[in-house]
């Protein structure tokens, strides 16, 4: 018998020291905390991502997939439809971001300066974010209808429509918003902007709250007017959050699929076809996964640059290339930024000169109006002499601005609400356009009688809650480890999490489908419960990393000196302090899970397992759309989330204010 001799304590200490020096001081807890997130991201995004790259070198011939080298890439290079799709994607993304930032900033400034009703106004501004994309698209399509849509009706009544034609902002009146190639792209951009304003507004609002009010008071004492205070105090304080929000939003917009798909399917012709639609069409409709993947891979460099810049801001004090990039950015950042903006302007001028000029006019009008309102508010406040935010008169211009903004935000929702209370005949015959006569509940009763709405509701609630808990737990653990623990590979993991943004979800789902099938989770709620957190983890992680960074390290060090383990210190000391941030992340994840459509659409087939957005979509059969029941369902779907936001939006802003927006 051979007796194994236990290593001596000195040997063990030596091994431990060597491990610590190699893996990092906190390697055990670090790896333990990030492992669940890494497993999920690698398994459900990393592997499909690698598979998509492999697929880009293959083509389907009959039932076989054959290796074709770079031929997919060379055929894309010569494909005029692909070139159009890339051009459209750049135009769509650039104009969407310009307007989202501008309107988001105006919304945040208005909300920040409101004294009464801010909570309600913030909840209303958040609505477009909360409403499912299916509902958004259905409503806007109906609003844009040239014959019966609310937009043409309102613009005709107010004579704004003919005025737009006289100003040469549109070519004909009545306008066919989604039918004319020149108007279709601006129209889908408007919808994307409408849906994207809340993200910027809430981030900017949080950043504004974080600005020390003494700075404004000092500037006011020095005689700075509203514009000077905005330029010299507000803007520098918003720089970080603006950059990170723009980068994140740019990546989301660049990879957007559902809004355009549901509005125009890329038409008329290919005037709104984005590269994601091209990839989807090739990969899914024509079963050419290779060409579709190649289309996505071709544009990876653009996403990669955005991610590199994002990483630079999200991981301050980095090492290696990041640190070198830091030095480079510090030295040439301003020049680079202006060069980039100039290059984008030239590109947009080349791609669509007409749209650029018209957008510049609209943007100038928006900024001018905002400045006028700010000046008027400032003037009235000074005139009444009651301090910076004390005058009731000074708030009148703010409320005018708020009312205009809320009109833009709420008008589509009004359309949904009135449609839900019309009869089928009123809807199909386009009677009672802006006011149901009579009001009827028939759409609600029809919806509940003909559809398993309760089951859809229950499934959505279950999936949303479970995936939110999973997402918050994993993101919380990972963000804590990545910001406060030292272990080898931490930065690489942070990078890898950001890389998940590079591939559009619309392309990952075929490899994902195969993986989930092998796990026997296809057509089960588990498929959604495990995939939903994966796609919200990067944002949640970034959000929480900013928050954790803001907490003094001494807190858990003191606890550990008193004998607490790292895990106990995390649980007892840190967790209670980050509750607002966890709640904010939970809201974000909950909204995403509540509204998610694409993955549910692909992974779920059984009626009993459908979620609400999927159920809504399944009510549309071919060319028969039950508008009334869809609108009724939209209201019922949105009410719980709207109420949840009404209750918790304060925590969302608080969470952002304390942590993430400070970087």
């Amino acid at each position: 018998m051979t007796l194994l001799k236990a290593p001596s304590p000195a040997v063990l200490r030596g091994r431990g020291t060597r491990r610590r020096s190699f893996f990092g001081k906190d390697w055990r807890e670090g790896y333990l905390f990030v492992a669940p997130m890494v497993l999920l991201v690698v398994g459900l995004i990393g592997i499909p991502f690698v598979d998509a790259i492999r697929l880009s070198f293959t083509a389907r011939h009959g039932s076989a997939n054959v290796w074709v080298g770079f031929s997919n890439y060379s055929s894309l290079w010569h494909d005029s439809f692909f070139r159009t799709a890339v051009k459209n994607t750049v135009v769509f993304t650039a104009f969407s971001e310009i307007f989202k930032v501008t309107l988001g900033l105006i919304a945040a400034l208005l909300l920040h300066n409101l004294r009464r009703g801010r909570g309600l106004a913030t909840a209303l501004v958040l609505l477009p974010w909360v409403i499912p994309t299916v509902v958004t698209a259905v409503s806007w399509r109906s609003i844009f209808d040239p014959l019966f849509g609310g937009l043409n009706s309102v613009l005709s009544t107010t004579h704004i429509g003919p005025l737009l034609k006289d100003l040469h902002l549109i070519d004909q009146w009545p306008a066919t918003w989604l039918g004319e190639p020149k108007l279709a792209m601006p129209a889908v951009i408007v919808v994307n902007v409408w849906k994207g304003i809340p993200f910027f507004a809430i981030n900017f609002l949080a950043a504004l709250k974080a600005i020390d009010s003494q700075q404004y008071e000092a500037a006011a004492v020095d005689g700075a007017d509203a514009w000077q205070r905005f330029r010299n105090v507000t803007m520098p304080s918003l720089r970080y959050v603006m950059l990170v929000s723009v980068l994140l939003s740019t990546m989301w917009t660049f990879n957007n699929f559902d809004v355009v798909w549901l509005l125009t399917q890329g038409g008329p012709g290919s005037s709104t076809a984005l590269y994601t639609l091209y990839a989807y069409q090739e990969a899914i409709q024509q079963l050419q996964n290779g060409l579709g993947s190649a289309a996505a891979v071709m544009l990876l460099p653009i996403s990669a640059v955005l991610i590199f810049v994002l990483a630079r801001y999200m991981m301050p004090g980095g090492q290696g290339p990041i640190r070198a990039a830091d030095r480079f950015f510090d030295k040439y950042g301003r020049v680079l930024l202006w060069s980039f903006l100039a290059a984008v302007a030239v590109l947009l001028f080349w791609f669509d000169r007409d749209l650029l000029i018209k957008s510049a006019i609209v943007l100038a009008v928006l900024i001018l109006a905002a400045m006028l309102l700010a000046r008027a508010s400032d003037g009235l406040t000074r005139w009444r002499g009651k301090g910076l935010r004390g005058s009731r008169w000074g708030r009148v211009p703010l409320w005018i601005g708020m009312a205009l903004l809320l009109f833009f935000i709420l008008a589509p929702l009004y359309w949904v609400i009135i449609t839900a209370f019309k009869s089928d005949l009123q809807i199909t015959a386009r009677m009672s356009l802006l006011w149901p006569k009579p009001w009827t509940f028939s759409q609600f009763t029809g919806l509940l009688d003909n559809n398993p709405f309760g089951l859809w509701f229950r499934n959505t609630l279950l999936i949303s809650l479970v995936s939110t808990v999973v997402s918050v737990a994993l993101a919380g653990l990972a963000a804590y480890a990545l910001t406060r623990l030292r272990f080898r590979g931490g930065r690489t993991i942070t990078w890898s999490v950001l890389l998940t943004y590079m591939m559009p979800g619309s392309l990952l789902f075929i490899p994902l489908y195969a993986i989930l099938s092998r796990l026997h989770t296809i057509n089960t709620l588990w498929a959604l419960i495990i995939t939903y957190p994966t796609f919200t983890l990067p944002f949640a992680c970034w959000f929480l990393m900013g928050y954790f960074r803001g907490l003094p390290m001494e807190l858990e060090e003191a606890a550990m000196t008193d004998g607490a383990t790292r895990i106990r210190a995390f649980r007892v000391i840190i967790l209670p302090m980050v509750k607002p941030a966890l709640l904010a992340v939970a809201l974000f994840t909950l909204t995403n899970a509540w509204n998610e459509f694409l993955l549910a659409f692909v992974f779920i087939t059984d009626n009993d397992l459908k979620t609400l957005p999927l159920g809504l979509q399944s009510m549309i059969v071919g060319d028969v759309v039950p508008w009334g029941q869809l609108s009724a369902a939209s209201i019922l779907i949105s009410v719980p989330v709207v109420l949840a936001y009404g209750y918790a939006q304060r925590f969302l802003v608080e969470g952002l204010t304390v942590g993430a927006v400070k970087g």
Binding site: S63, S80, E180, G269, T428, L455, V624, L643, Y647
Partner: protein, 482 residues
């Protein structure tokens, strides 16, 4: 706690409790009811021969994928019929619905077959999906079932073999047919002294559409889009065929798209949307319509002519639209290349997927649903013309099938017309099943071609040539070498 805090707290409490109340109310109002639990008010008796056949398959289960059928009543009817079958045979049938227009049906089913986790049985539009699924190797041969069905119910509709028979074998079992054609506002025609029978050819239809148009009264004659979508695809393809052109030869394998006939047809069609003369007959936004566009405009009462499946007719009937009583139907239009309309209706067929767990039980379902009381219930529940028989003897088995609605007889004539129709160019329609044509339609090559002409100003000749290249590529990607 000050007053402000109290009001904030109470408001928040109110909102929080409101969210739970709303959730609970929604849940309790709906009671977790499901379409599968719809009342089994009708209890169709399963034929004794099938109950006997199913005896040896007791305790077995089958997963069925049902194509959505335009009305919730029809979907419920299918679910109810399947439950009846399961109850009376001691088997288990799990039913799910699928929207064929979702665009990812083939990709999803192909992935499911490869993952060995696929439903046993599905019923889907025959011409759109069966050839492509067969080409991908996803389907089982069902020739034995079709032989039995034809023995019992007589020959299947003439189009069935064209859509389902490949290399001498049947890959789908005919289930039901659906009519399609042109819908015309007979009241507008009467006002102008025009008879429905005056509309014979595409040229007639265009000229009459122009004549009955009056934008000041919101009347637009030409309710046909060429935008991306199934309707756009169908409209362009139909015009090309009527001029004597085709995507491929009769065998469904050889691409012959770039021909003088195709160029003439596309030139004629593009002229409608480019020539100012026709502007007043085009409804605003017609070029942005997806598949719902013409339905909505038709039901809104602003269109003079449009083409669709009979689902449009059924929808006007079920919504009690005043348009229903003003609708006349035409089975199709002729063109310079064809002496007879190339309208044959469509067919829905059962397919059994490769890797099905219980194919023997799956094969009993078509025998139960495609005839007898089960089909009659389905036809009645689904509305006017959405479900009609696929076999000769079934048509004659109940007077409802021919006289239940004025449109049924015309559907019967169309679906049972002698095929094939020979074009002046020697092509025969309906053509053979083609995975290539399926792929071309799914990738909207034809609508993209029209987009190039109408939006980018590309010449018709060039656009047809560009489309031809894409079509060749699509066929080769399906393994059909050119």
């Amino acid at each position: 706690m000050d007053g402000h805090d109290r009001s904030t707290l109470s408001r928040r409490r109110l909102l929080a409790s409101g969210a739970w109340v709303a959730g609970a109310a929604a849940l309790s109002a709906c009671g977790g009811g499901s379409s599968n639990s719809s009342s089994l008010s009708k209890s169709v008796k399963v034929p004794a021969s099938l109950v006997d056949e199913a005896k040896k398959l007791k305790q077995k289960s089958v997963r069925v994928l049902s194509q959505k059928m335009y009305t919730p009543e029809a979907d419920k009817s299918v679910a109810t019929a399947l439950q009846n079958f399961a109850k009376q045979t001691g088997t288990t049938l799990k039913n799910a619905t699928v929207d064929p227009d979702a665009g990812n049906f083939v990709a999803k089913q192909d992935a499911a077959v490869r993952a060995k986790d696929v439903q046993d049985l599905a019923f889907v539009a025959a011409s759109r999906f069966v050839p492509q699924l067969q080409q991908l190797g996803d389907l089982e041969d069902v020739s034995d079932v079709v032989a039995e069905m034809e023995q019992q119910y007589g020959p299947a509709a003439g189009i069935a073999a064209n859509y389902l028979k490949i290399d001498g074998k049947w890959w789908g079992v005919p289930f039901y047919t659906i009519g399609s054609g042109w819908f015309v506002r007979k009241d507008w025609l009467t006002e102008k002294g025009i008879k429905v029978s005056d509309i014979v050819s595409y040229e007639n239809a265009r000229d009459i559409a122009l004549e009955i148009s009056d934008p000041s009264k919101n009347r637009y004659g030409w309710g046909i889009t060429v935008n991306r979508g199934g309707d756009g695809n169908g409209a362009i393809g139909a015009v090309i065929n009527a001029w004597g052109g085709s995507i491929c030869a009769d065998d469904g394998r050889k691409v012959i798209f770039n021909s003088p006939e195709t160029i003439d047809a596309v030139t004629w069609l593009a002229d409608i949307y480019q020539n100012k003369k026709y502007k007043k007959m085009l409804p605003p936004g017609v070029l942005s319509w997806t598949d719902t566009g013409n339905n909505e405009a038709w039901l809104a009462g602003v269109l003079g002519l449009t083409a669709n499946q009979d689902s449009l007719y059924a929808q006007s009937k079920s919504t009690k639209s005043p348009i229903y009583g003003k609708t006349a139907t035409l089975r199709g239009l002729t063109g310079p290349g064809t002496p007879a309309p190339l309208s044959f209706g469509d067919l829905t067929a059962f397919v059994i997927f490769k890797g099905a767990k219980n194919p023997d039980l799956a094969k009993l379902i078509p025998k139960y649903l495609a005839g007898g009381d089960a089909l009659l219930d389905l036809a009645k529940d689904s509305g006017a013309g959405i479900v009609l028989p696929a076999y000769e003897k079934v048509w004659k088995s109940q007077s409802y099938y021919l006289h239940g609605d004025p449109i049924f007889k015309t559907s019967y004539d169309m679906l049972n017309a002698k095929v094939p129709v020979t074009l002046k160019t020697g092509l025969h329609f309906p053509q053979g099943p083609s995975a290539g044509v399926n792929a071309v339609n799914q990738s909207y090559v034809l609508t993209d071609m029209m987009g190039e002409i109408l939006q980018k100003g590309t010449s018709v000749k060039q656009a047809v040539s560009n489309a031809n290249k894409r079509i060749v590529q699509a066929f080769e990607q399906q393994g059909l070498k050119q």
